[in-house]
Amino acid sequence: MKWGGKLVQRLVQLGFLVALLGTWHFMTATGTINPLLLPSVPSVWTKFVQIVSNGEYWPHLKITLYEYLVSMCIFVPSGLTVGYLVSRSRFTVRTFDPLFSGLYAIPQIILLPVYILYFGLGPGSKIAVGATIGFFPVVLNTIAGFSSVDRLYITAAKSMGASGFKMFWSVMVPAAWPVVLTGLRIGLIISFLAILGTETIVSLSGLGHRIVTLAELLNTSLMFAYIIFAVMVAIALNFVVSTAEARGKRH
């Protein structure tokens, strides 16, 4: 086996996780940590298997996914449309690109109280947070993607007779696509994390809300089972989105 090879990397990563789990198990099995603060590994595992097999997670996950899908339906089309329109002239790029970059740099989560005031404690405010946070990477990368299309491709296409929709669809979109796709990936991931996080701050339902409720009830083994479940959902989402991105960028 060669040092630095792929297999070695995977083994080190796996070893890290095993060590983490081992430390956790050791601390709880020896009674070093109060089981109310950190429940034992087997008890969390039992709860995890239980919520997955009896489908208890579904009503909570359903709310979170609903919020996520609605926010996606807002920020993906609006980010792409606004980004494309801004990219169309040098003037608008120079005006709006710094504006959006500046707004992206501030933590948008500070809008949460405003959104709660406007949209209430329920899913509405989560959708608004997810849409706001997802919008910026999509709009910024769409501007960057479309405004940096190599002039030579446009000139070549023009010399062969392309114009209007053909130019847009067969040259501009595929040329900008890799950069736009990266923006979509970032937006799709951080909006999900933001929705989950916001649910743990103020909410009436959802996966994040479930975790907070369990913490308040001091039902920590079930809470940890839900945290692991949420982490797995996030990992699965990341995997799906990254795979889609890699497929979309093959050339």
């Binding site: 000139t155 023009k158 062969m160 392309a162």
Partner: protein, 283 residues
């Protein structure tokens, strides 16, 4: 030349860059006039910035001339003419997200060729440039020389009467250029296209062209047009012949002062008299 034999008529064309600011306005091309015959291969040669590529873009309708007119088959050029004029660019202008064959098919679809013809025409053009086995490769999987062959195939598949080539081999190494130049000569001899070819290479200009138009330094004017008088396709032996090397030297004479002028203008380079004492490296 009889006016019916003229494919491209360049009439007193001038062009400048930097419209809004008179002081920084750079005149690129001044009163260029040329008659390019049907089936002729004309190469444009001159110092950097002399407006050769500008003239090519004006001929192809990619850029409007500020003064003067270009007539193609007697009609003034007002924009791209995909049915009449095809382009080969210096760098790879292939679309990297499409395979070589799909690149050609897309060009044909831009031009408006019927869908059922596209694949056949793409494959014919690829066979002609020796790339049939690479039809399904993506541009990133090809060498520089192969990319330019593919670009040439894309232009030839359009079946236009006129082919404009802007330093098509400019980014390639000497050996690849030589082989490609030979192949191009054979290929073009069969097609009877009218070709305008911009190049930096003196031997390439003589080797390929029927006539060579030499430009002055900026603002570019046409200093002289030289005829080559050698039948097509040019044989590899022509490259090493005395005739070519004499003409090459003649071209060099014509160009030498112009190149020096350009460098004086932009970089302040005078003939090297004595090198200044090297400064000690700062610590």
């Amino acid at each position: 030349m009889n006016s019916r034999d003229v494919a491209i008529k360049v009439d007193n064309v001038s062009h400048a860059f930097g419209l809004e600011d008179e002081e920084r306005r750079v005149s690129a091309l001044e009163n260029a006039s040329l008659d390019i015959g049907r089936g002729e291969l004309l190469s444009l040669i001159g110092p950097s910035g002399c407006g050769k590529s500008t003239l090519l873009n004006i001929i192809g309708g990619l850029m409007p001339a500020m003064e003067g007119t270009v007539l193609i088959n007697g009609a003034p050029v007002r924009g791209p003419l995909p049915q009449t004029v095809a382009y080969v660019f210096q760098e790879s202008a292939l679309f990297p997200w499409r395979s070589v064959r799909e690149n050609i098919e897309l060009g044909l679809s831009f031009q408006g060729a019927p869908a059922r013809e596209r694949t056949g025409r793409a494959m014919d053009a690829l066979s002609a440039v020796g790339l049939a086995d690479f039809a399904n490769h993506y541009p990133s999987q090809l060498s520089g020389g192969m990319k330019q062959r593919a670009q040439l195939a894309r232009a030839m598949a359009l079946k236009t009467d006129i082919l404009l080539m802007d330093e098509p081999f400019g980014a390639l190494d000497e050996q690849t250029r030589m082989v490609l130049g030979e192949d191009l000569s054979v290929l073009l001899a069969q097609t009877h296209k009218t070709i305008v070819f911009v190049t930096h290479s003196l031997s390439e200009a003589v080797f390929l062209a029927d006539r060579v138009a030499v430009f002055t330094a900026r603002p570019g004017r046409i200093k002289q047009v030289m005829s080559v008088n050698e039948p097509h396709p040019r044989k590899p032996e022509f490259m090493t012949s005395d005739k070519l090397s004499n003409m090459r030297n003649e071209l060099y004479e014509l160009l030498h002062d112009e190149i020096r002028k350009t460098m004086m203008g932009t970089e302040g380079v005078a003939p090297i008299a004595a090198a200044p004492a090297p400064k000690r490296a700062a610590r």
